[in-house]
Amino acid sequence: MRYLRIFGMYFRIGAMGEMQYRFNFFVHLFQSILQLGMALGGLAVIFTYTHSLGGWLPDEVLALVGVYTLVGGLIGLVVYPSMEQFIMSVRDGMLDFMLVKPADAQLLNSLQSVDIWRLIDVGLGFGVLIVALTRLGTQIGLSQAALFVGMLLTGSAIIYSFWTILATLSFWFVRVENILEIFRSMYEAGRWPISLYPPWLRFTLSFIVPVAFVTTVPVEALTGRLSPQTFLIAAALAVALLAASRVVWKVGLRQYSGASA
């Protein structure tokens, strides 16, 4: 609860900062719509040549684009800007101020910066998802919906910890922004059903850069494709990565010596 309140506070700070530039809302709205329009346009072209993409129906792929945009928005809303700021603070020693605050430093660091405009993506992604769901309508039961939400949370936990681990590496290597950049380009591959890719790429996108678990797996849950194995692997991976992110953080923090000290 306390951390929700802290997040609310950071959110307000982020919003207040951006409200000075209200015109930015339209700029970002325009950019997000353009991005989404491109994705949907690409799908439209593809589905003039085929009825299903690797066994996925158009509306199922649409749901995938919705989830992709939604989760991408959430990552961009808080995870990405916070990690960016964290990496910078390790370099210039501002991290000192975060460490003396009376709250869990790892959580605080993952919440410390909010890019409110990414809420537009969250909204648009949600909209696309709703459209896809109503079109798939009849086939989705309550249990599938519940499983979908569960897998979405599991996937978010996986991505969050994966990203935190990468960012925490900045305790050892000063320039890790580049690694985050890799993830950004890999995330794009998650816009398509993971089953399309050849095995080596499928493996990479599941276990080396776990993009598949945030986009494909939740939609699989929604459309009743989720196998018990995938479910178990996702759950285990989420727990393992969350624990790992904690360990890496703790060990990394010992490496940190401040900038001016």
Partner: protein, 267 residues
């Protein structure tokens, strides 16, 4: 013209030294540039397979060839100047460039070419690996490959001049990211990176041919793959020349107007 030769040579050396310094960024940059065509290669291969082996006149193997060649052509004509310029203008970094007795575009062109000279061998290796995995099939013709040389040069020039000109928007507004992103979405869609342009609806194909986008990427790729008739190739080269001319004129005008607005920060 002669005076430019030492300038280009020196810029090559500088860029080369910088690139060697930042090897990791180079590697990461490459991942992004390989992944995108790879994803579309996979998607279209699946589409072709489900359509009985071909879709829109491309077989699975021809899609593979299309996207592998696309990756290489993209690597020759790509520029990052639009990301950089905004920063340059805001931070006042343009000032030293203005003191030099040559047009600042030359340093940028030299920088671009030299960094590609470094990345190209790696991209060729990646292309060979991808070819081993996806077994591309293409039927290149001698004359078309010959014509592809000027087509590639023109594609590079067109893209460079146009993006350099668009980057000047930083003189007028601090909101260049919206302009940049809109432009990149158009390029992605209309230059042939998402799919070969012949698979698009007719109206979009015409738009891509009237606008400069097809001439930046799709046209040289189709030429290399041997999918164009000699007439189409000639028409395409002509369109490229016209667009390079237009872009050059535009660059001159916009640069002159923009530079008047520039007041260096911290000067």
């Amino acid at each position: 013209m002669k005076a430019l030769v030492p300038l280009y040579l020196q810029q090559f050396k500088t860029t080369f030294a910088t690139m060697v310094q930042y090897r990791a960024s180079l590697f990461i940059w490459m991942i992004g540039h390989v992944l995108e065509p790879l994803v579309y290669l996979v998607v279209w291969s699946v589409v072709a397979e489900s359509g009985g082996g071909s879709a829109g006149g491309y077989t699975t193997a021809e899609f593979a060839a299309y996207f592998i060649v696309l990756m290489l052509v993209e690597n020759t004509s790509y520029t990052w100047i639009m990301y950089e310029y905004d920063y340059r203008v805001r931070e006042g970094l343009l000032s030293p460039a203005l003191l030099r007795p040559v047009h600042p575009i030359h340093a940028d062109i030299a920088d671009n070419i030299s960094s590609k000279a470094i990345t190209m061998p790696f991209m060729l290796v990646v292309a060979v690996v991808l070819a081993a995995i996806f077994h591309p099939v293409m039927s290149p013709r001698g004359w078309a490959l010959l014509a592809a040389i000027p087509a590639l040069v023109l594609a590079f020039l067109l893209r460079f001049l146009l993006e350099w000109t668009l980057a000047q928007a930083a003189f007028w507004t601090t909101r260049v990211s919206a302009i940049n992103q809109s432009y990149f979405v158009l390029v992605l869609f209309l230059s042939g990176q998402v799919a070969p342009l012949s698979l698009f609806p007719h109206a979009l194909q015409i738009a891509a041919s009237i606008l400069p986008f097809r001439w930046m990427l799709g046209f040289p790729v189709e030429l290399i793959l041997g999918r164009l008739s000699p007439t189409d190739a000639l028409l395409g080269l002509a369109a490229q020349v016209v667009w390079v001319g237009l872009a050059y004129g535009l660059m001159r005008v916009i640069w002159r107007a923009g530079i008047r607005l520039y007041s260096a920060v911290g000067a």
